[in-house]
């Protein structure tokens, strides 16, 4: 592998991302040509990045790339160590698919929209994401981090004519900046203590610190990165911002941008801090569990398809954090092998989520483009006009629900195994945490399945619920190609998990000092096991094969007994009304109604029914039904907080009430105080 010029490929990738943006700016005049050149360059960049990262990952050693910059104290230093390369690989894969998709997606852009600006910020996002994953010093990292936020902000605000998008962008940027503030403080503290801002100087720098310093650093970083990771309770920007962005961008944001937060947490807790205190791992586990369960609960009741996917992103970030927290706890207990299982679960789920969430967002983008609405209640029946998009969405839905034999199942299975192992290998009360987390993960998984049954069932099946949905058309071939790549990857990563997982070996080696693939892949590469073959195995490919073979049985049964040709199409049962219309259909709101009632304490649903009638209440002339669910964190924490701050600020403004005498008095008092207290030492 040494003959592959990793640094050249890496820089080539970055350059072609950047070139894409600069070419994109010319979209003003040459819309069509720009689109093609732009997508070609981003694809090229993604390919180069992907190859470079894969090579670096297989190399299992760090590649350092350094370019001088025109700014004092700054060197553009990138390091492709296994962790960075892994994240960059996931990113490259997603960005390749999204770039292919964009070729078609941008074709359907409103001509009045400044395509050039879009291309520019899109490629800026690509460049900055790459830089975030590979930056090797804190200064560069923070610059890349903020550039990422800036470009994401403009992409979220791209459709700023709608007020909600604008405020979504603002919310995103403000939250992100609050996080960045914490990160900046964290990095500078760490830099002060470590004596340098280089990531290589940070390596295990935390090990020498007192537990209090370690803990406070961890909290700063955890908060800062948690905001980006979409962790509850600092997630509120995510369900606002991801739907507001154009389809391809929201795919990128949900699949990759939130992973930068996870990347940061991994970097911090395994690389920089040495061995953080036990409570850090438990905190991550708890935050992950809360995010997973609350995320999916909010996803369940969301009528907006893209918002629903955004909430599901929170859920998956939670699952990733659960595995990560488990790994940290095991590490604290000195169980590297178990920690490695949890870490592998976490890392694999990161990749998987990147793949299926981008797939789902891309399909959602195609659907929104075709129907002009994000509301599930306005879709329906899309499987007929857009069969391939529907198929892609279905694959994504199965994968994200963690159903075998696709990739989501494998990573969730590993997570369960790690949590199960945690019970036996930790002490006292800590051990009860794991089964509880496991059972909540089970609830999350089941609710996620319900959620995606609802999304696919209401959105794609049965009758169209609006004229636009009825007149929908299949997506552009390029869009289908992009989605198809990801769908195949979902299947491939699931069935070929035993082949893929050994790639994670360098990562566990780097972070924990143990390689896992020997224990993880058993029975000649057929099955996976959590460290010991007796502890349970799973063979996704075997399951898939068995499912296909077993399908012969019902086929044979039908072939034996059933006389062919007796399939009569007929109307579905319409309760005796004249014909089934979209009004008879079960709605998305109704679908989640039982859960809304069961979890009423969380949702605090409010509903209002107004019936107008003339003769008697049994013969209403019109019924107006309104139902609303209050997002708990927004209504109970953030809104009062912002109101409080604003009220305080307003009150504070009375110091500048216009009277010059007051102004003079401020100076006077300051002067007198300083004279009295300052002169005498």
């Amino acid at each position: 592998m040494n003959q592959i010029p990793i640094s050249g490929l890496f820089l080539g990738g970055l350059t072609s991302y950047a070139a894409a943006g600069l070419f994109g700016l010319s979209a003003h005049r040459y819309r069509r040509a720009t689109r093609i050149v732009f997508c070609a360059f981003t694809c090229l960049g993604a390919l180069l990045e992907g190859i470079a990262s894969l090579a670096a990952l297989l190399n299992a050693s760090a590649t350092l790339i350094s370019i001088p910059s025109g700014i004092p104290f700054l060197q553009y230093t990138f390091r492709l160590d296994p962790v960075s390369s892994y994240f960059n690989l996931a990113f490259a894969v997603v960005s390749l698919a999204v770039s292919v998709y964009s070729l078609g997606y941008l074709d359907g852009f409103d001509v009045r929209k400044p395509l050039g600006i879009f291309c520019f910020f899109y490629s800026l996002l690509l460049v900055s994401l790459t830089a975030v994953f590979t930056a090797n010093n804190a200064f560069l990292f923070l610059i890349a981090w903020e550039v990422m936020a800036v470009s994401a902000y403009f992409l979220v605000c791209f459709d700023h004519e709608r007020d909600e998008n604008k405020s979504a962008g603002n919310l995103f940027f403000v939250m992100s900046h609050v996080g960045t503030g914490a990160l900046m403080a964290g990095f500078l503290l760490l830099g002060t203590w470590a004596g340098s801002l280089d990531f290589s100087a940070f390596h295990l720098a935390g090990a020498a610190l007192t537990p209090i310093r370690q803990g406070s650093l961890f909290l700063l970083f955890f908060f800062g990165f948690g905001v980006k990771a979409g962790m509850i309770p600092v997630h509120i920007w995510l369900p606002a911002a991801h739907p507001a962005a154009p389809g391809n961008v929201s795919a990128l944001m949900s699949a990759i941008l939130i992973k930068t937060g996870i990347y940061g947490i991994i970097r911090i807790s395994f690389d920089f801090l040495g061995l953080p205190p036990l409570w850090c791992g438990l905190l991550v586990l708890a935050a992950g569990t809360a995010s997973a369960i609350l995320g999916v609960l909010y996803a369940l009741i969301e009528p907006d398809l893209k918002r629903m996917l955004a909430y599901s992103t929170i859920e998956n970030a939670g699952i990733i954090l659960m595995a990560l927290g488990g790994s940290m706890v095991f590490r604290s207990y000195g169980r590297p092998a178990l920690a490695a299982v949890a870490l592998v679960a976490c890392l694999f789920h990161i990749f998987n989520h990147a793949v299926f969430k981008s797939l789902l967002f891309l399909s959602a983008g195609a659907v929104v483009h075709a129907t002009g609405s994000r509301n599930l209640e306005r879709m329906g029946g899309l499987i007929r006009p857009m069969p391939l998009t529907a198929l892609c969405f279905l694959v994504g839905a199965i994968a994200i629900s963690g159903l075998p034999p696709l990739n989501g199942f494998v990573s969730e299975w590993l997570t369960y195994q790690a949590l199960l192992g945690g019970f036996g290998s930790t002490l006292s009360l800590t051990r009860i945490v794991f089964p509880v987390a496991g059972s909540l993960l089970a609830l999350t998984g089941a609710l996620a399945a319900a959620c995606f049954v609802r999304a696919f069932g209401i959105g794609f099946l049965a009758l169209p619920r609006s004229p636009q949905a009825g007149h929908a058309h299949e997506a552009h071939p390029a869009m289908l190609a992009g989605m198809g790549m990801l769908a195949l990857l979902c299947i491939g990563l699931g069935l070929g998990a035993t082949v893929c997982l050994p790639i994670l070996d360098p990562l566990t080696n780097q972070l924990l000092g143990v390689g896992m693939s020997g224990n993880l892949v058993v029975h000649g590469g057929l099955a996976l096991s959590p460290g010991s073959p007796t502890g349970g195995t799973v063979a996704p490919a075997g399951i898939a094969g068995a499912l296909i073979l077993l399908a012969l049985v019902p086929w044979a049964l039908c072939a034996i007994w059933w006389r062919r040709g007796r399939k009569i199409p007929g109307p579905a049962w319409d309760c005796g009304l004249p014909g089934l219309t979209e009004y008879n259909e079960f709605t998305a709101t109704a679908f989640s109604k039982p859960l809304r009632m069961i979890f009423a304490a969380l949702y605090q649903p409010r509903r209002e029914i107004q019936t107008e009638f003339e003769v008697s209440a049994y013969y209403p002339t019109s019924v107006r039904f309104e139902s609303e669910v209050a997002p708990a964190f927004e209504t109970h924490f953030y809104s009062p907080l912002v109101e409080r701050i604003m009220a305080r600020a307003s009150r504070f403004r009375t110091i500048q009430a216009g009277g010059i005498h007051a102004y003079l008095a401020y100076i006077f008092i300051t002067l007198v105080v300083l004279l009295v207290f300052g002169v005498r030492s």
């Binding site: 923070l142 610059i143 500078l188 002060t192 604003m646 600020a649 102004y663």
Partner: protein, 499 residues
């Protein structure tokens, strides 16, 4: 000689413009003068870099790297402001902004233009004198002169509110400068027991700094307090900042930009010169503690006003208070990093703020208001350049990378964390809060649905100054010219080493 020309050209340009009377001529005189001054400033910078401090008339005028940097920034700001002013005042004249009664009175217009075009060079002259005067007394005189000139410029529109603003500016500035003068007198007193300081040179900074260790300590404490409050008033450090929002929002935009990017630097320059003396005399502890407290106070005071703000011109003023606080904080944190951060910040701020003011001015002229409420939103549709410019400027001024203010703020924060955790954490949180308020206000102003206004960017002068500045800001984000950086570094060395 270069020093003399630097002062003479703007000094002569004022009266010349006054007598020329005709608008194109006045514009030409201003532009030419400031262009020459900018070239001279650049030349001075190079000369100082190559061959050390330059002085004239027995060290009456003296330029080391610190002065050269201030001169360069002032000249740059003056040049861009004069370019912008052409378009700005032409627009004012065209739409009869000069007279509230909407009576088109040509004489009033000419009178007002004469006022601006003759006072602006004098304003610049006084600012250049601040940087070039070696004598601390002359420095004071020059700052006072700049105040007086700018008071007239603040009353430019003659509205009730501009009178009010001018009064507050003049009175508070006057009080502040009295304190500064007191401090200067005390410094002279602290030094005058030392041999060879009884003459005029006794107030020369270059002389004082060599004898700084022998200055009377108690006197220097008192002097520094008074200087801090005095020049702090001029720089707009809380709680002496109260004139700033009024003056910045009432002055014509080019003047406001010069106040924010020129006078601020000059006032800080005075403070820095005294700080060097104090630090050498009393050790860094005393001065920096005070500076940190006042810096944090300024940043903190700016927060609520930026969060809840009705007018975008005042928003910029509070941002200027915030930045004055940051720079004072940087001076207080001290050390090589702090000083370097200070001058980087000063440089970048002086380039970024005018852009914001120009865009705000364009918007104000187009919308005939500076209130967010009345300007509504969606300005990007009718004014794509100014809208994009103010958005870019907002990101830059709030310290978002890749723009260069992030680099300086990062450097300053590095110094901060090296020194103590509480001020550092506080300043980070203030920065975040200010960013939030600023961004939400400006994005609501710029983005949004198209209100269907006619395009408002026909003037080449206004547009070119906005685009030019924006380009400079973007370029500086990625590349700082080596000579500029070494000038900044030598200026920082002066603060650290004292020479």
């Amino acid at each position: 000689m270069i020093l003399l020309w630097l002062l003479l050209i703007p000094f002569a340009a004022g009266p010349l413009a006054f007598f020329l009377r005709r608008r194109p001529l006045m514009e030409a005189v201003n532009l030419a003068a400031f262009a020459v001054v900018a070239c001279l400033a650049a030349a001075l910078g190079i000369r100082v870099l190559q061959s050390g401090p330059v002085s004239l008339w027995d060290g009456f005028l003296y330029a080391d790297a610190l002065s050269a940097l201030i001169v360069l920034l002032t000249a740059f700001v003056a040049l861009v402001c004069s370019i912008y002013a052409v378009g700005y005042f032409r627009h004012d004249e065209q739409y009869t902004f000069f007279n509230e009664n909407k009576e088109v009175v040509a004489e009033i217009a000419v009178f007002k233009l004469r006022k601006y075009y003759s006072l602006a060079p004098l304003f610049v002259f006084s600012m250049l004198l601040v940087a070039l005067a070696n004598n601390l007394g002359i420095l004071w005189v020059a700052i006072e002169a700049s105040t007086l000139v700018s008071v007239f410029l603040v009353t430019f529109y003659g509205r009730k509110t501009s009178l009010e603003a001018a009064w507050k500016y003049a009175i508070i500035g006057g009080v502040g400068l009295s304190m500064a003068l007191f401090g200067t007198i005390l410094t002279y007193y602290a030094a005058h027991r030392i041999e060879g300081t009884e003459t005029l040179a006794g107030l020369n900074w270059s002389v004082l700094v060599q004898n700084a260790a022998r200055l009377d300590k108690t006197t220097m404490r008192l002097a520094f307090i008074l200087i801090l409050l005095g020049y702090g008033t001029k720089a707009g450090i809380a709680p002496m900042h109260t004139w700033k929002p009024d003056a910045y929002s009432e002055a014509p935009v080019p003047v406001a930009a010069m106040l924010a990017a020129g006078v601020l630097n000059c006032a800080l320059y005075g403070l820095i010169r005294f700080y060097i003396l104090t630090a050498k005399c009393l050790g860094p502890q005393f001065g920096s503690q005070l500076l940190i407290v006042f810096g944090l106070l300024s940043m903190g005071v700016a927060v609520p006003f930026i969060l809840v703000q009705k007018s975008f011109r005042r928003l910029l003023a509070y941002s200027s208070i915030d930045h004055a606080g940051i720079m004072v904080l940087a001076l207080g944190f001290g050390g090589p990093l702090g000083a370097l951060g200070l001058f980087l910040h000063m440089t970048f701020h002086s380039i970024t703020k005018p852009l914001l003011f120009f865009c705000a001015g364009n918007i104000q002229q187009q919308m005939k208001t500076d209130l967010f409420r009345k300007a509504k939103g969606g300005l990007i549709h009718s004014m794509p350049w100014s809208g994009a410019g103010i958005l870019l400027g907002t990101l830059a001024v709030t310290g978002s990378p890749p723009f260069s203010l992030f680099q300086s703020e990062f450097t300053i924060l590095r110094a901060a964390f090296g020194r103590g955790y509480l001020p550092a954490i506080l300043s980070v949180s203030f920065l975040v809060a200010i960013f939030s308020g600023f961004l939400v206000h400006i994005s609501n102003l710029v983005l949004g649905p198209d209100p269907g206004l006619p395009s408002g960017e026909s003037c080449k002068w206004k547009k070119s100054s906005v685009i030019g500045l924006a380009t400079v800001i973007v370029v500086l984000g990625f590349w700082i010219p080596a000579p500029l950086f070494s000038l900044i570094r030598s200026a920082a060395d002066i603060v650290v080493i004292g020479r």
